[in-house]
Amino acid sequence: MGTQDSDKWIIEAEGVGRCFGHHEALSRIDLQIGRGEIFGILGPDGAGKTTLMQLLAAILDPTAGRCRVLGFDTVRDAAQVTARIGYMSQGFTLYDRLSVDENLAFSARIRSVPDALFQQRRKALLQMAGLESACRREARVLSGGMRKKLSLCTNLIHEPSLLLLDELSLGVDPVSRRDLWRMLRTFRAQGTTIVLTTPYMDEASYCDRLAFLHQGQLLAVDSPDALKERARGQVYEVVTARQEEVQQLTGEYREIVSGQWLADRFRLQLASGKAPSEPLRHKLEALGAFGPAAPDLENTFVQLTAPPTDTGSTPEQTGFESVQVDGTDAITARGISVRFGNFSALKNLSFRVAAGEVIGWLGPNGAGKTTLIRVLCGLQRPSAGEVHIAGVALRSAPMAVRARIGYMSQHFSLYPDLSVIENLVFFAGLYGLSRHKRRDAVHWVKTVVGIEGIDGRQAGDLSGALRQRLALACAIMHRPAVLFLDEPTSGVDPLARRRFWQLIQLLARAGMAVLVSTHYLEEAYYCHRLGLMNNGRLIALGTLGELRSALETPLHTADMETLFMTYMARASADEGAIT
């Protein structure tokens, strides 16, 4: 079937659609992807990204249109397609009980890779992924980053001409993400075509071309730079710290379609094509240095998906009461250590968090962020050290502490078989709220996080973004003094993420201390202070500015990624020096 077209196009989709029951997950997708491209598919949760990937991998049949991959029809010649591609699905697609080597060998053998060739590629791949030293370890003990790299290797062992990667760097720390991209570029140079989906805007800009997918529709396909250009002229920044006034402006002026707090400035996007109106310009200039800024992919996304819903009622108007913390620090941690057998997960951590402070916790997979949060919540007893939450000692009065904290895990732990309202009422009841107070609390929290009108839907059916908001609602309903968020935004699309951070800042302004762990370095801008962790140690703690200037050669204008990498490299070097 080697027509000339199929030589040029690795993937051709014509009017492809897919329904699940009455729900149309994808409709009329036309797409052509050429040889040697790195092609990114960007879109919010529930946009149909995974469905599209499964259609391309020929493991799902379209209900409309047709799709040719490598010149073969994905329905009639599915076996031909699957014989030639590599497909990495969203979850971890490794066998936990098999070692790194065995996972690779299995993958090679089911694809009939000759032994000699396998040995040669295995060596090259493991080296590239930095997994040589781990090749005998079972997959289940690997960190998230290593698992992703191994998954990628198992899909590269037969050197497929097309690689389909669903949510490549979901839950992967920035260091491992770098390794993954290095591998992808190497293979692209050898002629492999790569199609990937990603929630990271910065990652999307590494692609040759991008497709924006929204509610099952293809909104735009273009190069990242061309896409960014589409929002040019709509984005402005004002350097200010006067948050209340800015908040008031965004409520007042409908032309502001979205806004975002960065470390020291507010970045706003206006309705397409217009300069700010005179009164708005005046007010903004009064706040601080004001001027146009370079648009990024998020801006284009906002522009393409039309006005986001979060400009409506701002939570201030819904009777938010500030949380009372009686003068003491919200969190005091002294000398916390956790050991699992011989392994030290946390090594002598001490820090304080003030009321109303948002503190971000960054570090590679396995650095101990989750363990730290579990210790602070009382889910994990520390081997040594003391924790005081809102002035109460965790060890001596665990029940009193529990009433003052809120916790949201990275899995958005909800009861999938309960409806939204049932989940809310249940968690309200757990905090012993009376019937009357419970009704008020549920009503209040629904407006605060913006989940009105979906009371009857089952939590398991919600998209990631809504589940995230519901989980947050369940965690703050009793107005805790301290809120712990463990990777609260992983797997959630950029818009939902931005809206989520607005909420967090709002809660903090009302006096809630928020401790959050994340892999998204861009989120560091939302935090007052940052804690960097590596190997169970707290290697740095301070504001972004402090971190920048604390280095031997201060990086005053460095972006978060450079800063993070520098600190991690320094930490590893120190460790090396010690051992």
Binding site: R374, C377, G378, L379, Q380, R381, M399, R402, A403, I405, G406, Y407, S409, H411, S413, L414, Y415, P416, D417, L418, E422, V425, F426, F427, A428, G429, L430, Y431, G432, L433, S434, C474
Partner: protein, 363 residues
């Protein structure tokens, strides 16, 4: 307040889980009915072949007399010994009655003709039954001929509580007990482990909820459902003519106590397991010995003493006494207090161990 919240949530989840509801319904109804109809130790229609080497009126009379009852089904007349043997071997028949060539002549001469009965001993139970039936059949036949056959002391058997010794009554009641046990163990185990898998258990543990409250919330729905499903099964019981001689209230109360100990097993399994697969396999591992050591399938008295002691740990053993006692014998609490005490003791011990396991895991 917290407890009622937990309870409401558990109840909602319980009734939303169709698969589980279907399973419970299936176990309490279809399975009970099928087993009651199908399974019995009261053997009927035993396959019997006759090698009649005499072939006259006298021998035919004997055969007719033996096979006229429900006990035997005549599978045919093999031609010779070799064929008879082959029928036994292939399982075409379970027993062969051999009538000697001079049977009629011997009878007339007042001698004692010897009949031969060949039995397939591979099914020991059936073989023993066939022999008994044939012996009784012969006595009956000879009495008909007017011969004096009565033994010197005549046993008169009276079976109490279950006079026709139908297996059905026993089967119906024991299947209900089994259903209660399976549901009682598997359901709480599965729901608790599911919370572990979804991570919601962590979410609960950062709220002021206590382990005891969690246990109670997990126990009540299964307890309620298990106790309520007793009532539909009473219909089946009634359908199969099983009498209820004792007090219904006592039965319901003791059923609840039994469920409590079964749920205790489930909770303990859940405390020890991390994944659903482990919990399911372990429940399996626990359920079977309990079934065997309950007296449901075979008499406990016949077991080796080690197993008899082990059977003291099986709540099902006590519950079988309870359910059979109340239905068939009309036992009251005066007769069953020991069983009630044992059930309560086992239940409490299980909960205590489970709570300890939960606490230890948090360090």
């Amino acid at each position: 307040m917290r407890l009622s919240s937990l309870l409401i949530k558990e109840l909602i989840q319980f009734f939303r889980d169709r698969v589980i509801l279907l399973l419970i319904l299936w176990l309490y109804t279809v399975e009970v009915v099928i087993c009651a109809y199908a399974l019995g130790l009261d053997l009927r229609h035993l396959p019997l072949a006759v090698l009649d080497q005499d072939r006259n009126a006298a021998s035919r009379l004997l055969v007719d007399s033996l096979t006229s009852s429900e006990s035997f089904r005549l599978t045919g007349f093999p031609q010779d010994m070799q064929q008879a043997e082959q029928w036994l071997q292939s399982g075409r028949t379970r027993a062969v009655l051999v009538i000697p060539p001079d049977y009629a002549a011997d009878l007339v001469r007042d001698e004692e003709p010897t009949l031969q009965l060949l039995l397939d001993g591979s099914d020991a139970n059936t073989a023993a039954t066939v022999r008994n039936y044939i012996m009784r059949g012969l006595i009956f036949y000879q009495a008909g001929l007017g011969l004096d056959v009565t033994p010197s002391v005549q046993p008169v058997i009276r079976i109490w509580y279950n006079p026709d010794l139908t297996y059905t009554r026993f089967m119906v009641l024991s299947m209900i007990a089994l259903a209660a046990l399976m549901v009682g163990v598997i359901h709480p185990a599965a729901t608790i482990v599911r919370e572990k898998e979804f991570g919601t258990i962590d979410q609960l543990q950062v709220t002021p909820v206590r382990i005891s409250e969690l246990f109670i919330a997990k126990t009540v729905p299964t307890l309620l459902m298990g106790t309520l499903s007793v009532f539909p099964s009473l219909l089946i019981v009634w359908w199969f003519d099983v009498p209820l001689r004792g007090s219904l209230l006592l039965f319901v109360l003791l059923t609840a106590l039994f469920l409590l100990s079964a749920i205790g097993i489930g909770v303990l399994i859940a405390a020890a397991c991390r994944t659903l697969q482990q919990a399911l396999l372990l429940s399996f591992f626990g359920l079977f010995p309990m079934m065997f050591l309950s007296g449901t399938l075979a008499p406990i008295a016949s077991m080796p003493s080690a197993l008899q002691y082990l059977s003291l740990l099986s709540p099902l053993r006590y519950y079988m006494d309870v359910i059979l006692g109340i239905f068939l014998k009309g036992n009251g609490i005066a007769d069953l207090w020991l069983q009630a005490l044992a059930l309560a003791g086992i239940g409490l011990a299980l909960y205590a161990i489970a709570a300890a396991v939960f606490h230890r895991q948090r360090t």
